[in-house]
């Protein structure tokens, strides 16, 4: 038994209807912690290489972390993952809200779902009791309708849920899983995996607080953050405006993606910024449990064209950019409506935006015509067209049937030069941060097992000058400010270590917006479990998770050739702050080789060495195919 953990993992086989719990020993938890660690473990242990991501054999994991469900601010999240139908590799993402928090309090460190129900079902987890219930009557309903129906059926209020809408049911590879209506386990097509299992929803209620080994130390840490977070300007900014305050400034330095990354300047950036949202459609701010930063915007509006229900949340920065500047759209009400459609249909706003941006560029270049789009003039800047296409994608109708599988697969089907316009790595569309500006992030976009995920690493612009921004890297023995476009060995080492740190945090699981240091995260794990856990173990955990995900992808047939940015980023934008700036392909290739080398992976193939696997205690994970 490990103090502070539930010490039980819930197993569900939807094919047989079998429900059981699994108890792992203390060594398991110390080696894999939770979140991304437990996800990686179960995917490698239980998924046969080459399994179809949408087959019953795929394994869908919902994994809170050790600190989930505790008093720790930012400790309410969970990691969700499976084999991705979008990339063919590992899908891994984190979601906020109360679902992870209550799952842990319901007595489980993770749920591992396998098989496929012979009809639509949902899971009802009530303080450790688990039932599989019929959801035939819920199939086809939106996320919001499903929530209301299940609460009425069970006679419960404020149920915490993980749910798919029609996009997940229709196996859209860019669909996501929504937690508590307005938070998303967004990337990699997990909604389709859930849909392929005929699993509509997991509803959970949990009231048993984890018992920490040293509860006063946990409370001290929580008190410290709740007292001090306003001293961190970024957390203060999140508290006041949420994300998306930096549209104009991002545009000024070239961070804001514009028109499928083909342009370098969005003249209407000020129209889609978070302060404009605050003064127009924002009706409140919400928090995850125990967190006073309260960064989550709630929007509601009703005008002649659109009506948006505040229960469906509000657009984050990624959405404001993905459905705004990336599409050349400046209509904030339309973006809020599109965000709502994504919430109720369960679509990943980032991949959706990236895919529609791809389609818009195809349309403008004549690769797609009105005949292809069903008469929709799908040019950049057309908000009505965007909203129509969201509907088509969610329901797999018309051009939406092609776009529902993401830009990479859509480009292959369309042909005629479309492939050059699909802005993705491993099939995963980019987060809304320019790799030509943040070139260390560009390296992480290339290499991260989950594809072009902006949360997989820290962003270069934090560490370009002296000041508190450097505190985040000094503890990693990275002492000098470095330019954002630098790809030296020192930069690669920094970027790699920050990626490992992120994967440790995703195992713990803590929120990136709460400014916890590495030491504080280690302290909370020590206080929770009573272990003599160290910073060294934390970084080793990050290395273990990173390498396990790498092995998983290699086993599924991905290679170093998949660690590749689209060609567009090796040339400059035609205007804006990055005019004249491009990524040097040779420098990026050198950086990749350096990254592999520093990770103990083969410098050319990126295959982890046997010694590295043995060092990390995961030699069991190496399938013969990896080292063939």
């Amino acid at each position: 038994m490990v103090q502070g953990l539930a010490n039980r993992i819930l197993r569900i086989d939807l094919s047989s209807g079998r429900i059981w719990t699994e108890e792992q020993n203390e060594l398991f938890y110390r080696r894999y912690l939770g979140g991304a660690g437990i996800l990686s473990y179960y995917l490698l242990k239980e998924l046969k290489p080459g399994t179809d991501a949408l087959s019953p054999e795929n394994v869908l994991v919902f994994a809170p972390g050790p600190v989930t469900g505790t008093v720790i601010p930012g400790g309410s999240r969970l990691c969700v993952g499976a084999k991705s139908p979008l990339s063919g590799g590992m899908a891994k993402c984190e979601a906020g809200g109360f679902f992870g928090y209550e799952l842990k309090r319901a007595g489980f460190d993770a749920i591992v779902v396998q098989g496929k129900a012979d009809h639509p079902v949902y899971l009802w987890i009530n303080n450790g009791e688990v039932q599989i219930k019929d959801a035939s009557h819920l199939w086809g309903q939106t996320v919001l309708e499903t929530q209301d129906a299940i609460e009425a059926e069970l006679g419960e209020k404020r149920l915490r849920t993980a749910t798919i809408g029609p996009a997940g049911e229709n196996l859209a590879a860019i669909s996501c899983i929504m937690t508590d209506l307005r938070n998303a386990a967004g990337r990699g097509g997990l909604g389709a995996v859930m849909g392929s299992k005929n699993l509509k929803c997991i509803a959970v209620k949990g009231k048993t607080a984890p018992q920490a080994a040293e509860p006063e130390k946990m409370r001290d840490l929580a008190r410290w953050m709740n007292t001090n977070y306003m001293n961190f300007s970024i957390a203060k900014g999140f508290h006041e405006l949420g994300t998306g305050a930096g549209m104009v400034s991002g545009n000024a330095i070239g961070n804001l993606p514009v028109r499928n990354w083909s342009d370098g300047q969005f003249d209407d950036a000020a129209m889609i910024q978070a302060d404009v949202l605050r003064d127009s459609y924002r009706v409140g701010m919400e928090a995850c449990p125990s967190c006073q930063i309260r960064c989550k915007k709630v929007v509601a509006l009703e005008n002649d064209a659109y009506k948006v229900d505040g229960r469906n949340g509000g657009p984050e920065y990624e959405t404001l950019a993905a459905l705004g500047s990336l599409l050349g759209i400046n209509d904030l009400a339309a973006i809020c409506r599109a965000n709502e459609l994504c919430s109720i249909y369960s679509l990943d706003t980032i991949s959706l935006g990236g895919t529609i941006a791809f389609a818009m560029e195809c349309f403008e270049k004549g690769i797609l015509t009105l005949a292809d789009t069903g008469g929709i003039a799908l040019g950049f800047g057309n908000a009505d067209a965007m909203l129509k296409v969201v509907e088509l994608i969610a329901h797999r109708q018309g051009i939406g049937d092609i776009l529902a599988d993401g830009s990479r697969k859509a480009a292959k089907r369309i042909g005629r030069g479309a492939e050059a316009l699909a802005m993705q790595v491993k099939g995963i569309e980019f987060g809304m941060h320019e790799p030509r500006l943040k070139q260390g992030l560009g390296l992480i976009y290339s290499i991260a097992a989950q594809g072009a995920d902006h949360m997989a690493g820290a962003h270069d612009t934090f560490f370009t000058q002296e000041g508190r921004g450097m505190e985040g890297v000094r503890s990693l023995d990275s002492l000098d400010p470095l330019p954002a476009n630098d790809l030296s060995t020192a930069k690669v080492d920094r970027v790699k270590n920050l990626h490992l740190l992120r994967n440790f945090s995703d195992s713990l699981v803590t929120c990136n917006f709460v400014p916890w240091t590495l030491r504080q995260q280690v302290d909370m794990l020590r206080a929770l479990t009573g272990w003599d856990y160290t910073d060294f173990e934390a970084m080793r955990q990050g290395e273990r998770v990173t390498t396990m995900a790498r092995v998983f992808n290699l086993r599924e047939g991905l290679t170093a050739a998949d660690d590749q940015l689209p060609q567009r980023f090796f040339s400059s934008t035609p205007r804006g702050a990055l005019k004249g700036t491009a990524i040097d392909p040779e420098a990026m290739n050198r950086a990749k080789r350096t990254f592999y080398t520093l990770m103990g992976w083969d410098p050319v193939t990126g295959v982890p060495t046997q010694e590295k696997l043995e060092q990390l205690g995961i030699a069991w994970a190496a399938a013969d195919s990896v080292h063939a």
Partner: protein, 77 residues
């Protein structure tokens, strides 16, 4: 020299009167760092700046007509 400065987000409080935008008459040869220190900004806070439309470093020199935007680094969301 005349310089325009915009401060964004929580950093706006350092601009004169807490205004988002100000036009300032300054002596020549000031750097970005010099100006921000003069405004009383806590230089320890994470910040980025764009000077005339490109990412600036603290040692970049201001000149007549410069437009300086100062803001917290942008990460995710």
């Amino acid at each position: 020299m005349r310089v325009t400065i915009e401060m964004h987000g929580p950093l706006q409080r350092y601009n004169q009167g807490g205004q988002p935008r100000a036009e300032l008459d300054l002596e020549d040869n000031l750097t970005v760092r010099d100006l921000l220190m003069r405004l009383g900004m806590d230089m320890d806070e994470p910040w980025n700046a764009a000077l005339n439309g490109t990412l600036a470093s603290p040692s970049d020199k201001l000149s007549e007509g410069s437009l300086l935007l100062v803001f917290p680094p942008i990460e995710g969301g």
